[in-house]
């Protein structure tokens, strides 16, 4: 993603493209939680990438920067190579029922809807960027 058309896509665009992948991952995590809403002892999983994305955005460097020296500044959430790779974590919530299951289906459905809307927003943003490029390529004739 970083190699193709380096000049056409700026940092913010790449951030949007990264966000698409993370939203997809989050969708999987939520689907797993909902499927296991009635499995005794199942602990709900979480997936938080926004915080990390925010930190990278504040550093204002391309997402793909690499740490090659121990003295290099590095954002605390990124992995050793500077990439954002959030892990799925067990959400530290209390059990809802007495069977040890911690899935809150209403909360999961709300997250699912939110995730879906933000995914669509990211696609829309990328589409508009592409439309701008197309407009420039055609010399503003359409």
């Amino acid at each position: 993603m970083n190699k193709i058309a380096g000049g056409l896509f700026n940092f913010a665009d790449r951030l949007q493209m990264t966000a698409l992948n993370h939203r997809l991952q989050r969708n999987q995590v939520i689907a797993g939680n909902i499927a296991n809403a009635e499995t005794p002892g199942y602990r709900a999983l979480g997936y938080d990438f926004e915080k990390q994305l925010q930190d990278v955005a504040q550093v204002n460097e391309p997402v793909g920067t690499r740490v090659t020296d121990a003295r290099h500044l590095r954002n605390t959430f990124a992995q050793a190579d500077g990439q954002i790779r959030p892990d799925v974590f067990v959400r530290p919530t209390e059990s809802v029922g007495e069977d040890g299951n911690t899935v809150d289906v209403d909360g999961e459905m709300a997250q699912l809807a939110e995730n879906q809307i933000l995914y669509r927003a990211a696609v829309e943003t990328i589409n508009r960027k592409l439309a701008l490029l197309r407009y420039a390529i055609s010399g503003g004739t359409r």
């Binding site: 991952q25 969708n27 459905m109 699912l112």
Partner: protein, 146 residues
């Protein structure tokens, strides 16, 4: 990337599990008055055991390193018989009545079966919504650059 389909396969595992549960609950309701079974004695109510199992170990997941060991789908690992004592009903005219006139009826509680059925329906709907959501995302992704 097969990620859209992984999300869908997790949701469909939930759909399948809840449907199987619904079948078991229907069998319980249908046999709420059954006094004769192959094993002898009245019908014993059945219930499903859900278990969280690792999602598909697809070859390409290992290949591109996206295999996530924490992600779980759901599976019905067993259908167990409720060992609660049968209901004893006084009905001396019944052919299966014992010498005191009592008939052993199944340990099925119709009310709690109905409640379980509603829960299963709601869970099924939640999984169907999640599946639709993944589908919508996949379709939206196809619109990139259009």
């Amino acid at each position: 990337m097969s990620s859209f389909f992984k999300s869908m396969s997790i949701s469909s595992s939930g759909l399948a599990a809840q449907r199987l549960r619904m079948n078991v609950l229907s069998a319980n309701l249908a046999n709420a008055q059954t006094t004769r079974t192959d094993e002898g004695g009245p019908y014993q109510r059945r219930d499903v055991v859900f278990s969280a199992v690792p999602t598909g170990r697809a070859f390409e997941d290992f290949l591109d390193g996206t295999h996530n060991t924490q992600l779980r789908k759901v599976e019905v690992v067993a259908v167990h018989k409720d060992q609660a004592a049968p209901r004893r009903v006084l009905d001396p005219s019944h052919p299966d009545a014992d010498k005191d006139g009592y008939v052993e009826m199944p340990n099925v509680q119709v009310m709690s079966e109905m409640v379980n059925m509603i829960t299963a329906t709601r869970s099924y709907e939640a999984n169907a919504t999640a599946l639709n959501d993944a589908k919508q995302m996949a379709l939206k992704a196809l619109e990139i650059g259009r």
